[in-house]
């Protein structure tokens, strides 16, 4: 009797151990291919990237924020009265904030005079080597094969390690319940819950149905250009081939994929 109970416990123990090991095995040796049919209209890219052409932005009407507003309404971004709680996916900053350490009096003069002192658009850089993905303890943020760094709002535990890791300040926590602060809800895109991190997703939901990112579409001056860097005939490649461009903090090795022409 004792002998059989002992054996039973052994087997039970081993089974529990086996089930416990499954996630570990999955993490090391899982095949994560999703199985669903893509929209035939979908835009397919191998390495999505954005070029911010500040020279084109010159034609913008005064105080133009079309790209920001388009993004905010497309993604149900709440408008919090307290700047401490703010959520921003794409926003405007001064040259010295977008490119700290790269100021000098002459480039400041160039930005002020030749670029009319217009703000620079900043957003998630969808890095090729993203530190936010590296640090996430639950793989709630990950890099898709087409280069877009996305979030799983249903898995994020809100530890904010990714916010510490991002060298571009591109990440936001929902410090409060965002839903009461959404001006007009867009039923096409999910709202988020309190306590999870979010950021720009290069409009992966729009690419999937054949549309360009909301900010790109909203810019009447074509200052934001989006496309596939692996495609040598793409507009982004053409711009980067013909004009010198810079990236934000390339020295950190993150390989950011938002390029600036100024």
């Amino acid at each position: 009797m004792d002998e059989t109970r002992r054996n039973f416990l052994k087997i039970a123990g081993l089974s529990v151990l086996g089930f416990g090991a499954k996630p570990v095995v999955d993490a090391v040796a899982g095949t994560g291919e999703p199985k669903f049919e893509k929209d035939p209209q979908a835009l397919n890219g191998k390495r999505w990237a954005m070029v911010v052409n500040q020279k084109k932005c010159l034609n913008a009407k005064e105080g133009c924020k079309d790209c920001v507003l388009a993004c905010n309404s497309a993604h149900n971004i709440p408008d919090f009265p307290n700047p401490k709680d703010e959520i921003k996916w794409i926003w405007q900053v001064k040259y010295e904030n977008a490119f700290p350490g790269q100021e000098n009096p002459y480039i400041d003069e160039y930005v002020k005079k030749s670029l009319k002192g217009l703000p620079f658009m900043v957003l998630c850089n969808h890095c090729d080597n993203p530190p936010c993905v590296r640090v996430c303890p639950v793989q709630a943020t990950f890099r898709r094969p087409d280069g877009i760094v996305v979030m799983d709002y249903h898995r994020c535990i809100g530890c904010r390690f990714c916010m510490a890791a991002c060298p571009y300040g591109a990440r936001n926590l929902n410090w409060r319940d965002p839903r009461p602060f959404i001006k007009k809800e867009n039923p096409e895109f999910p709202t988020r819950s309190r306590g999870v991190v979010e950021k720009c997703n290069f409009c992966s939901e729009r690419l999937a149905v054949g549309k360009m990112p909301a900010c790109v579409e909203a810019c009447k001056d074509k200052a934001l250009v989006f496309g596939d860097l692996e495609d040598p005939n793409s507009e982004v490649r053409e711009l980067l081939r013909t004009q010198p461009s810079i990236q934000r903090k390339p020295q950190l090795g993150t390989r950011p994929q938002v390029y600036y022409i100024l």
């Binding site: 401490k84 959520i87 303890p137 639950v138 535990i157 530890c159 571009y168």
Partner: protein, 384 residues
């Protein structure tokens, strides 16, 4: 043995009751945070970790310091530590419990905390921190309890416990190293991006933890029948002195590299911390308080005359503890965010509920510590 915690005099129960009230108050505030979100704290988009993670970081050090007793006692057979090694181990238990609680109260979605186990991510230092902290908690409860139980039965500790004791030594180093790696591996945060972070953490840990332990021993000697022994306290005070000297030296190394190289993204943080930056100086008084306390501590501890006198030793140890509490518990985390990666400055001011939760978690730690110490001291006094 746990039943020994249920017997005690009036002041013991008054103390336990006081701690329970504080825990209850903290829990009340935490319920509010659960309802409204982390928005009720002072943390923001720019300063996204605050007091919670600061306390966590400091307490990992206090936990790791148990090794300063375990190592001399078990590895070098240093008998003087025989009476207090258990106090070090139980201090580690209480500290790790506080660490884990601080992590949980800091989560935006604590209901999903177990995702860390469901989707193990070896890439993430936080995953490894979870592994080493829980392992260390287990080791210290297990070792401390087993050895104490043997003592209660007037028997030598079982032989099979030895491997666990030896394992706990490198494990103590690992918890603070891994915690330092949380910070030291982030590309965009110049304040934290320094290879000396882990050694610095260990230096401050081996000063702050034993300093608290000496204060506790002096308290116990005065108000209970338990005497840790002057030799043990003396040896511990020398360990604190060396560790504090190293800790200060490591900070000076940082200051040299940062101010001699003059690389802005490293330098601006230290400037903000010590003298203020672009008119923002929220942490300056704190940092100078920490610096002055460190100086007092070094003067009182290096000089053998003041180190050997109970009164001045106590002041020295308290100075070590509070100096490092400011350095690790407040300055280290916050300054990493100021200025932000876009070189803007958002300062951080903890809110009342946030401070209430912090006090509640500390009270929880002291509650665990008091109960464990009550058991340990009862066993020791009965055995004596």
């Amino acid at each position: 043995m746990l039943e020994k915690a249920l017997r005690g005099n009036k002041s013991y129960f008054a103390w336990i009751g006081f701690l329970l009230i504080l825990v209850g108050m903290g829990f009340g505030f935490y319920l509010r945070q659960l309802g409204l979100g982390l928005g009720i704290t002072g943390m923001s988009r720019d300063v996204s970790w605050g007091l919670y993670i600061g306390q966590f970081t400091f307490l990992v050090g206090v936990a790791a310091s148990a090794v300063m007793l375990v190592l001399p006692y078990y590895l070098h057979n240093y008998k003087a530590f025989g009476k207090i090694t258990i106090l070090g181990e139980f201090l580690a238990v209480a500290s790790v419990i506080m660490c884990l609680t601080f992590i949980v109260v800091d989560l935006g979605r604590p209901d999903r905390a177990f995702n860390v186990l469901l989707y193990p991510s070896p890439n993430s230092v936080l995953f490894w921190d979870m592994v080493v902290l829980n392992g260390y908690l287990f080791l210290n409860i297990f070792v401390g309890w087993t050895v104490l139980e043997a003592e209660a039965k007037s028997a030598p500790p079982p032989k099979w416990i030895k491997p666990f004791i030896y394992l706990s030594i490198p494990w103590a180093v690992s918890i603070h190293t891994v915690t330092a790696f949380l910070y030291a591996g982030l590309p965009g945060r110049g304040f934290w991006l320094t290879a000396i972070m882990a050694p610095r953490f260990l230096g401050s840990a081996f000063a702050a933890g034993p300093a608290l332990l000496i204060l506790i021993c002096l308290f116990l000697r005065k108000y209970t029948r338990f005497d840790a022994g002057w030799q043990a306290i003396q040896s511990l005070s020398k360990i604190i002195t060396y560790a504090m000297v190293l800790s200060v030296f490591f900070v000076l190394c940082e200051l040299f590299t940062v101010y001699y190289s003059q690389i802005p993204e490293h330098m601006y943080h230290f400037t903000y911390l010590f003298v203020g930056f672009h008119g923002h100086s929220g942490l300056v008084p704190w940092m100078w308080a920490s610096t002055i306390l460190a100086a007092i501590a070094l003067i009182l501890l290096i000089n053998p005359n003041t180190r050997n006198r109970t009164g001045t030793l106590a002041i020295g140890c308290a100075s070590v503890f509070f100096s490092l509490w400011i350095e690790k518990g407040i300055a280290l985390v916050l300054t990493g965010y100021i200025p932000s990666p876009l070189e803007t400055i958002t300062e951080y001011h903890p809110t009342l509920p946030e401070i209430g939760i912090v006090i509640g978690v500390w009270a929880l730690g002291f509650l665990v510590l008091s109960i464990l110490y009550k058991v340990a001291l009862s066993v020791k006094l009965e055995a004596a």
